[in-house]
């Protein structure tokens, strides 16, 4: 039952996407809306039905696999087109289709004036299908297929406005960096196949302990999988594509580059926790990368002027928290953060989209200010999102971040380092998010006021923002310190109850709550002092720390370093190849061969005189000689 519905959930977005893509002309907007948005709504309703069905089952009876047919069976490798419906994948399905539906609904109005309305929805539906395939796959093979498809959809949507060179460049960059990750993931899957002889999740995870705890193989598999995860989830040093991906339309940024696709790396680690449980070193490396990422991205977000880039760096930072949590073994906390982040970051992006729409595609914070008087809905969405992401008590981010940090503290040792980084990150998060809020919605408007006056959004855009705003307020109550731990118990059948699974202790929670409250309110207060109370103050203070601020504004110069390290040497090698090696090497070989053949054939072609009688003479001569030779040979043998 559950699996049958899951197949339908998987197929519906694919069909609607294909129908939209194959429609011979640009269909009427009404058709595009019904197909593009309706399919995701249907998928969400079915996912919720599956969820309700699983809730009715006993905890150990919530995982089902279903195989459509055998895809490959060769040399001992058996791969079926199979899906796995279990608490983890159902949770991801709910996030993908639920948040996805709201964002599709929002796009109806946001993309209204775009001439490629149909193409937008076709690509978005393709993305939803790919993401569902990624989370539903029951083996590494189809995980990789889904993984590659979301990369494709991301590429298509970042470069949606292909007339802009910057969008095309950003799409290419995202694709290239994601391919690095794909290679890691594929190599990891190969290593799994070689070591365990199967690509099937159930079998592979059941037999994972055969590799032995702390073995080199387990470490290698984990690190290879993590390369894939880091590229998809924009972790240092593979993070540089995500801020550029903001070239895509805002709903794309909200759905793909905030709520779902970039968290696929977190999902991958949670899904493969059986491997990560075997190697504490791999887990610590993952957590370290996450910690570095969250801190680095938070500092960069402080200096961005483009409203979407602030949110993009914030996403990098928040995903850093999740990666840190799952690296330490706090899988449920990581997934909790993933869900909460999907709510509040989608709310933030969509609210930012309302601003951008209202200001005729203006994205610079310098051109904003005092918007709360004009855009009430955006102010609500942005406000709820900021309170949530900063970790104000009662909001989703508070519970989620708290869960992550107190798990880190409970891990002890290396976890202490992560905890400190996380607390500093929480302070910076509050600072940069409220900087955005104060600069966009408070204070005076830009010089000369707005022209034209920002227009409020209609209900297509308002309703999703309000719903997501409410979700970022209440979404955290799934898992409350000292109270019920809804998500933990929901995910227990997937994660097991091994010693490697980290859950926060009460002491850790008390310490974390106190410290993170200080950090959050400290950040908000500093943001108010710097950006809210007196808008001129930040300009006066900007000179004080000009050097560090410039480095942060340049995102720690990663792009320039990559240019120097890879792009420029690559160009130089290509140059030398083209001007020095190629003319004499491959090209010389070809022209040389041609000259030899031509010379030889010129000699031979002289014999083709066109004189039939001459041919006859030569033929007779040849036959005679052959006859003489044969006769002599025969005479010799007899």
């Amino acid at each position: 039952m559950a699996t049958a519905l899951a197949w339908i959930v998987l197929v519906v977005p694919l069909i609607s996407g294909l129908v939209l893509a194959g429609w011979p002309t640009e269909p009427p907007h009404a058709v595009t809306r019904v197909l593009g948005v309706g399919s995701i709504l249907l998928a969400f309703i079915l996912s919720a039905t599956i969820f309700a069905g699983l809730l009715g089952n006993a905890a150990d009876d919530r995982a089902f696999t279903s195989s459509a047919f055998e895809w490959i069976s060769i040399g001992g490798v058996d791969v079926n087109l199979a899906i796995l419906v279990d608490p983890l994948s159902v949770m991801m399905m709910l996030i993908i289709t639920g948040v996805g539906f709201l964002i599709h609904l929002y796009s109806v109005e946001y993309m209204e004036h775009d001439r490629d309305y149909r193409r937008f929805f076709a690509c978005m539906n393709l993305f939803v299908f790919a993401m569902l395939l990624l989370v539903l796959a029951a083996n590494f093979f189809f995980l990789i297929v889904g993984w590659a498809f979301v990369g494709l959809a991301s590429y298509l949507l970042i470069g949606f406005w292909y007339q802009r060179p910057s969008a095309v460049a950003a799409a290419k960059k995202a694709f290239v960096i994601n391919v690095i990750g794909d290679v890691g993931l594929v190599l990891g899957a190969f290593l799994v196949l070689r070591t365990l002889g199967t690509l099937d999740y159930g079998e592979a995870f059941a037999r994972a302990p055969e590799m032995g705890a702390q073995s080199g193989t387990a470490l290698a598999i984990c690190l290879l999988l993590f390369v894939g995860s880091a590229a998809k989830s924009a972790q240092v040093p593979l993070h540089t594509w995500l801020p550029d991906a903001m070239e895509g339309p805002t709903p794309v940024s909200a759905l793909i580059h905030a709520a779902t696709m970039v968290t696929a790396g977190v999902y991958l680690i949670v899904r493969c926790h059986a491997f990560f449980d075997l190697s504490w070193l791999a887990g610590d490396i993952v957590a370290f990368v996450g910690a570095i990422t969250l801190l680095l991205a938070a500092t960069v977000a402080l200096q961005q002027v483009d409203i979407k880039r602030v949110l993009a760096w914030s996403t990098v930072s928040q995903v850093g928290y999740m990666v840190m949590a799952v690296g330490l073994g706090a899988y449920a906390s990581g997934m909790f953060m993933l869900m909460a982040h999907a709510f509040y970051k989608a709310a933030l992006f969509l609210a930012a989209g309302i601003i951008i729409h209202a200001l005729n595609d203006e994205q610079s914070l310098d051109a904003m200010g005092g918007l709360r008087k004009y855009l009430r809905v955006a102010f609500f969405g942005m406000g709820a999102g900021c309170l949530a992401i900063a970790g104000v008590p009662g909001f989703a981010g508070f519970f989620a971040k708290d869960d992550v940090l107190s798990s880190a503290l409970a891990y002890g040792g290396f976890g202490m380092f992560c905890w400190v980084v996380g607390v500093v990150g929480a302070f910076l998060t509050a600072l940069y998010m409220f900087r955005l809020l104060f600069r966009a919605f408070f204070g005076p408007g830009p010089d000369g006021g707005y022209d034209p006056t920002p227009h409020p959004s209609r209900w297509w855009m308002s309703v999703p923002v309000v719903i997501l705003g409410i979700l970022s307020i209440v979404g955290g109550w799934l898992q409350v310190p000292f109270g019920w731990r809804g998500l933990d118990s929901w995910l227990t059948p997937v994660l097991g109850t091994g010693a490697e699974i980290i859950e926060p202790t009460h002491t850790a929670e008390v310490i974390t709550i106190i410290v993170s409250l200080v950090a959050a309110f400290g950040g908000i207060a500093l943001a108010w002092w710097l950006f809210g109370a007196d808008p001129e103050r930040r300009k006066r203070l900007a000179g004080v720390a000009a050097g560090p601020l410039r480095v942060m504004g340049d995102a720690w110069e990663f792009d320039r370093a990559y240019d120097d390290l890879f792009v420029d040497p690559g160009r130089e090698v290509a140059d030398v190849m083209a001007t020095k090696v190629e003319p004499d090497g491959p090209q010389g070989l070809i022209t040389g061969t041609v000259a030899v053949v031509r010379g030889a054939s010129r000699v031979v072609s002289a014999s083709q005189s066109g004189m039939v009688r001459a041919y006859t003479f030569w033929m007779v001569l040849g036959i005679s000689l052959a006859g003489i030779v044969i006769a002599l040979v025969l005479a010799g043998t007899s």
Partner: protein, 101 residues
């Protein structure tokens, strides 16, 4: 009295050489065709000689087949010759060298 096989072969060889020389020396396509006929018949003589030698009629059957083929060949050859003559008014195979390399 029986004719020895050597006589058949000698006659056959003589006709073949005559035909060959004709093909190589003559420029007129009609004479060329005649020479080819001569060579075919040299073959026929040899076939019949062997047939007599081994007392096997299949040699004679082959000779009949060769005659049929020769007739067909002459038809095509004469057809070609007439077609060439129409286009060129003179008949010299040495001038038909459009396929020269």
């Amino acid at each position: 009295m029986t004719v020895p096989i050597a006589a058949y072969l000698a006659l056959s060889l003589g006709l073949l050489v005559l035909g060959l020389i004709g093909v190589m020396r003559r420029r007129n396509p009609l004479m060329l065709l005649l020479s080819v006929e001569l060579m075919l018949n040299a073959g026929n003589v040899a076939l019949i000689g062997f047939s007599r030698q081994w007392d096997d009629p299949s040699g004679q059957v082959f000779a009949l087949v060769v005659m049929v083929v020769a007739a067909a060949e002459v038809v095509i050859g004469l057809g070609l010759t007439v077609a060439i003559f129409r286009n060129r008014t003179n008949l010299d195979v040495d001038e038909l060298s459009a396929m020269k390399g």
